[in-house]
Every structure is written in C-alpha cells, then in structure tokens.
C-alpha cells in the first residue's frame, strides 16, 4: 500500500494537500448552499405574498415526524464529528462504529421522510397542486407551499443519499486503513458534506414544519 505520509506528486507536502482539499470542499459547499438559497428565496417571496396559505400548510404538515427527523440529523452530525476525533487519535474501531451509526441514522431519516410522503399522498397532496386536497382547499398559495415542500425536501433527500454514499466510502477507507493519521482530513471532508446536509435541514425544519 502507498505510504499515507507521502503527498500526491503535485503537492509539496501533506499540509498543502490538505489545504487544497479543504479549499475545494469549501467552494463546493458554498455552491451547494447557493443552490438551496434559490429555493429558500422563493419560499421567502411566496411566504410574504401568501402568509395565510403558508401558515395553513405548516399547520397541516407532519410536525412530529419532521421534528424527530431534525433530532436524528443533529445526532448524526454529532456522531460524525466524534468519528473524526476518533480517526485523528488512530482509534480505527471507534471511528468505524461512529460512522456506521451515522449511516444508520441517515437511513432512518430517509425512511421517515418516505413515511411522510406516503401520508401526504394519501391525503391527496401531490406536487404541482395535483390531488383531491387542492379541490377541497382552493387557496392559491397552498399548491405553492406544497410544491416547494416537495422540491426542497426532495432535493435535500437526494443530498442525504449522496452523503450516505460518501460516508459509506469513508467507512470503507477507515476499515481498510487508507483513512488514518496523517490523512484523516479525507474523513473531515466527507464529514463536512454531511454537516452541510444537516445545516440545510436546520433551516428547512422551521420553515416547513414549525412557524
């Protein structure tokens, strides 16, 4: 196996390699945040225009499931941060277990999300204002609320899925020994993506479930 302490050929040393990797993920995370920002801005504009319909939409949403999911993501973020700690101390087993738990929590999040979608579908709430719910509730803002709900949470679920794939590779790396000191920054980068997924949900939760 390649010596982990040696940087790739085009870097002078590991510190420079780590710095480049961190800057790369920083720019990528910023662009991801801007992708969601467009949707949040749309929410802000429609919420300002249809405050009553958006309030009604929030009241009708699956608040308990959404809130439990928030707790799940917060816990998973904490665990992945602890996994980075363990990896830095070369505690391979701890790092792997914490990563596996993070992945399990991510899968639980997606399962609960699917249960939520199922609940909405049974109530006749579909994207684009389709479904029986909207014939009974004629307010023009409601289709906008629910379409935004599906787009934002759907896009977020795609990111959770990508994050789980990344964490899977991280777990494999930790188990194989290719993610270990002095190159634990690789795990940090995977963890950074997972934290971004968490931060986005931190804002999705109050907008669509609470207020």
């Amino acid at each position: 196996m390649r010596d982990l302490a040696l940087p790739a050929g085009h870097f002078e040393d590991l510190a420079q390699q780590r710095h480049a990797a961190k800057l790369g993920i920083g720019v990528f995370l910023a662009s991801e945040a801007l992708l969601f920002a467009g949707l949040f801005a749309l929410f802000a504009a429609y919420q300002t225009e249809y405050p009553d319909a958006f309030h009604e939409g929030v009241l009708h949403n699956t608040k308990v499931l959404g809130s439990v999911n928030t707790g799940i993501l917060l816990l998973s973020s904490t665990l992945v941060a602890l996994s980075v700690h363990a990896a830095r101390l070369a505690r391979r087993r701890n790092a792997a277990v914490l990563l596996a738990l993070t992945i399990a929590l991510g899968l639980t999040f997606l399962t609960i999300k699917l249960v939520e979608y199922g609940t909405h579908f049974r109530e006749g709430i579909f994207p684009g204002g389709a479904g029986s719910f909207f014939t009974d509730h004629a307010d023009a803002g409601l289709p906008l609320f629910w379409t935004l709900y599906y787009v934002v949470t759907g896009l977020h679920a795609v990111h959770v899925t990508v994050g789980l794939t990344v964490l899977g590779f991280m777990l494999a790396g930790v188990l194989r020994g290719s993610i270990a000191p002095p190159v634990t920054y690789k795990l940090e980068i995977g963890a950074l993506y997972w934290h971004l997924v968490d931060v986005i949900w931190i804002f999705v939760w109050p907008l669509f479930y609470l207020a």
Binding site: V27, T48, H195
Partner: protein, 110 residues
C-alpha cells in the same frame, strides 16, 4: 505538521447545545407568537447552524481561504433573500398606467 483541532469536550458540548436548541424550538412552536413565531424559529435555526459551522465544521480553526468561501455564500444568500422579499413587499398594485376611463390617450385604445 499537526493541525489544530476542536477539542472532544467542545464537540460534546456543541452536540448537547444543539439538542437543547432543538427542544426549545419544538416547544416554542406550540406557543402562539403570531408573526414572531417564524422570526424566533429562524433565529434559533441560525444559532444551530452557527454552532454546527463553527465547531463541527471547525470554522473557528480553519484558514482564511476556506472561511472566505463560506462567508461569501452566506453574504450572497443574505443579499438574494433581502432583495427578493424587498421586491415582493414593495410592489405597488396597478403600476404607472392611469385608469383607462380618465385618460384621454386611452380612449381609442382597444
């Protein structure tokens, strides 16, 4: 080379604080605050996001390059949302055109 890291204790305290804020936000949502409920919920969310960014993503220790990328995104998002809401709020109902019946030029228009 040994990069500085956030301590284990800080990570655990951050995690605990996140759960306190989560429980607070969830509880407060059952209290009717009228138009303030969204502001309070978003304020708590911003606090949680800051905790995750500073101590889990380790922005407190990160170099200027990484933090600049994140700060640029936050600034652009703030501008985008402020301008978009500003636009919606300040839109006046019929714009510059005067009512048709009282405007001489509008007489012959179809």
């Amino acid at each position: 080379m040994k990069a500085r890291t956030v301590s284990l204790r800080t990570t655990l305290v951050t995690g605990a604080l996140l759960f306190v804020l989560w429980a607070t936000s969830w509880s407060v949502s059952y209290v009717s605050l009228g138009p303030w409920s969204l502001a309070v919920a978003l304020g708590i969310a911003a606090l949680k996001a800051a905790l995750v960014a500073l101590f889990f993503m380790e922005l407190v220790l990160e170099g200027a390059a990484f933090n600049f990328a994140i700060a640029a995104a936050v600034t652009l998002i703030a501008i985008l949302i402020a301008l978009m809401v500003g636009d919606v709020v300040t839109r006046a109902a019929p714009p510059l055109l005067p009512p048709r019946a009282t405007h001489p030029l509008a007489q012959g228009a179809s």
